[in-house]
């Protein structure tokens, strides 16, 4: 806001004071929100670290069991057993609110199945298929869990970033400019008051 555009009037000063008070209140609230979000973020970060580590371990295990299954049953046996998979996991997407940030809450149908529910017969397969199926079921569960945590973390980060920008804008741009404008108006009003007083004295002196 350029100072030359400001009208040095009392009403403007009152309006500016109101805006400053509002900005300072907003600044305090946004700062508290930012700090709160950062605290939430660190909580989620711990969970994300755990879930990512778990995901990686489960992925490695799944790849390893697949390699073993290919070794024991051959790709033919594994593909043939894979034809038994009859359903894909159903994802139910809900949302929850963390300090104004809408984050996903993912609920999934049961991925891990018992031996009888996997769709292949026990008598025509070996335990290598069971181990591989179990490892991949666990991997899918870990992916679903990670998806929720990682998306929450991403949304929180975006919100922290935007809140930080707003806090900085208020702290270093809006509030200083408003304060400067207020001071300018105050100064101009004081000066105008002094001029008025001087003029009155001059008139009084001439009339005497």
């Amino acid at each position: 806001m350029a100072l030359r555009d400001i009208k040095p009037t009392r009403s403007e000063l009152i309006a500016l004071k109101r805006r400053i008070a509002l900005s300072e209140r907003g600044y305090k609230i946004l700062k508290m929100k930012r700090d709160g979000l950062i605290l939430e973020f660190f909580k989620i970060l711990e969970q994300a670290k755990d879930s990512r580590g778990e995901l990686l371990a489960k992925y490695r295990r799944a790849v390893e069991t697949m390699a073993f299954a290919n070794t024991i049953e051959g790709a033919i046996g594994v593909k043939s057993a894979a034809f038994s998979v009859k359903e894909v996991p159903q994802i139910d997407l809900k949302s929850k609110n963390i300090m104004g940030v809408v984050v996903p809450e993912i609920e999934s149908s049961k991925v891990k199945k018992s031996l009888v529910d996997r769709g292949y017969g026990v008598l025509g397969t070996t335990s290598a298929i069971d181990e591989t199926a179990l490892a991949f079921e666990e991997l899918v569960e870990a992916i679903i869990e990670s998806a929720e945590i990682e998306t929450t973390m991403k949304r929180l980060l975006e919100e922290i970033e935007s809140t930080k920008r707003r806090v900085n804008a208020l702290e270093f741009k809006v509030i200083p400019e408003l304060t400067e404008a207020r001071d300018f108006i105050k100064m101009r009003l004081d000066e105008m008051e002094r001029e008025e007083l001087f003029r009155l004295k001059k008139i009084k002196a001439r009339s005497v």
Binding site: F83, G121, T126
Partner: protein, 351 residues
């Protein structure tokens, strides 16, 4: 089963042929040597053996590991068909009956592939026509649009009655697991009927079937216990051998491992099996147990082939050993491809 009047000469001939073929199988030392080879060397080794024809034949359609694996499977299927061609009389009928397990596997693969909307070509890649249903018949099944039509096309085959009975409920349920178990149970039941039909050589065939059923049931028990599955366990057990379904169900519900193993040992009479089962008291993976049981089964089959040199045993023993040669070569190639350690691969080889 119709009786056929044949003299002993064809039996002696085919059993001798089996012994010769068995002697040509890859020996244990060769597997140990292959464990130290890299994938290209193993591939070259396979290409230089009797699998060469199939590898060359399929070379234009497949490449890499898929070529090796499908080549090995094709060789197995062809070898089984060749054996059926030279096997006479009752032995042929027993062998055909025994190879029907491949038909179950192929038919189920086709039905599952169709249910998943897979293309004919993709399903065909995973078929191993080593049973009674040959490649032409399986190709015809592949052209059918729905599982119901596939079942109809199998009218007159041994597996048709179970398919006709259980397929509608399996399709409604979306799972073929129960149907698969029922087909295998019926398969063993048919084998026992054939063996007990009073034909010559039947008792020897029955002896093998019972061994196979016992080993399969024990393997299933360990798998079910590993999964803590109590209900429906009886549906996965095959009756007709040492254990009744009720006994197997009871064994499955035992919580104590030692008690479970003691109970199995009380019923089993086969010495090598008794010895190996004792080793399962210590914690082992289900796969290790399965491999150990397969080894015992093969050794026992070999023993029976020596006791009854002109019976079904030398043929079945060769069929199984040939199957495990293919499985071993595949395991070596796939294991090396996946960078598994030689010791790990060795644990899965049946030699």
């Amino acid at each position: 089963m119709t009786a056929m009047l044949v003299g002993p000469a064809p039996y002696i001939y085919v059993c001798t042929r089996m012994r010769v073929r068995k002697s040509k199988l890859i020996p244990r030392d060769e597997y140990l040597r292959m464990l130290n080879m890299g994938l290209p060397e193993i591939t070259r080794f396979i290409e230089e053996t009797e699998y060469k024809t199939e590898i060359d034949e399929l070379g234009t359609s497949f490449k890499g590991m898929d070529l090796i694996e499908i080549g090995l499977s094709w060789n197995l299927a062809k070898e089984y068909q060749r054996i059926l061609d030279i096997t006479p009389g009752f032995l042929k009928e027993f062998t055909t009956a025994y190879l029907r397990r491949w038909d179950i596997q192929n038919v189920l693969t086709i039905i599952r592939g169709k249910m998943q909307g897979m293309s004919q070509g993709k399903i065909k890649e995973v078929l191993i026509p080593a049973g009674e249903l040959d490649r032409v018949f399986l190709d015809r099944l592949l052209t059918e649009d729905t599982p119901e039509r596939i079942a109809e096309a199998l009218k007159g085959q041994k597996i048709y009655p179970i398919l006709a009975r259980d397929l509608p409920s399996a399709l409604a349920d979306g799972s073929l697991a129960r149907l698969e178990n029922e087909l295998y149970k019926q398969f063993y039941s048919d084998l026992l009927v054939d063996a007990r039909s009073g034909v010559k050589g039947g008792p020897q065939f029955e002896e093998f079937i019972k061994l196979d059923i016992d080993i399969t049931n024990i393997k299933s028990l360990f798998r079910l216990r590993g999964d803590n599955l109590q209900e429906e366990a009886g549906d996965m057990m095959i009756p007709g051998a040492t254990f009744s379904v009720d006994e197997l169900q009871r064994l499955n519900s035992m919580e104590n491992q030692n008690e479970f193993i003691d109970s199995i040992k009380n019923k089993i009479k086969l010495r090598p099996l008794l010895e190996i089962i004792d080793e399962f008291r210590e914690k082992q993976s289900v796969r290790q147990i399965e491999v150990a049981l397969i080894r015992v089964q093969l050794r026992q089959m070999e023993r029976m082939a020596k006791i009854y040199p002109f019976s079904i045993h030398p043929i079945l023993s060769y069929l199984e050993m040939k199957k495990y040669e293919v499985f071993n070569l595949r395991a070596l190639a796939r294991g090396k491809e996946s960078n598994l350690e030689s010791e790990s691969i060795k644990g899965y080889l049946v030699m």
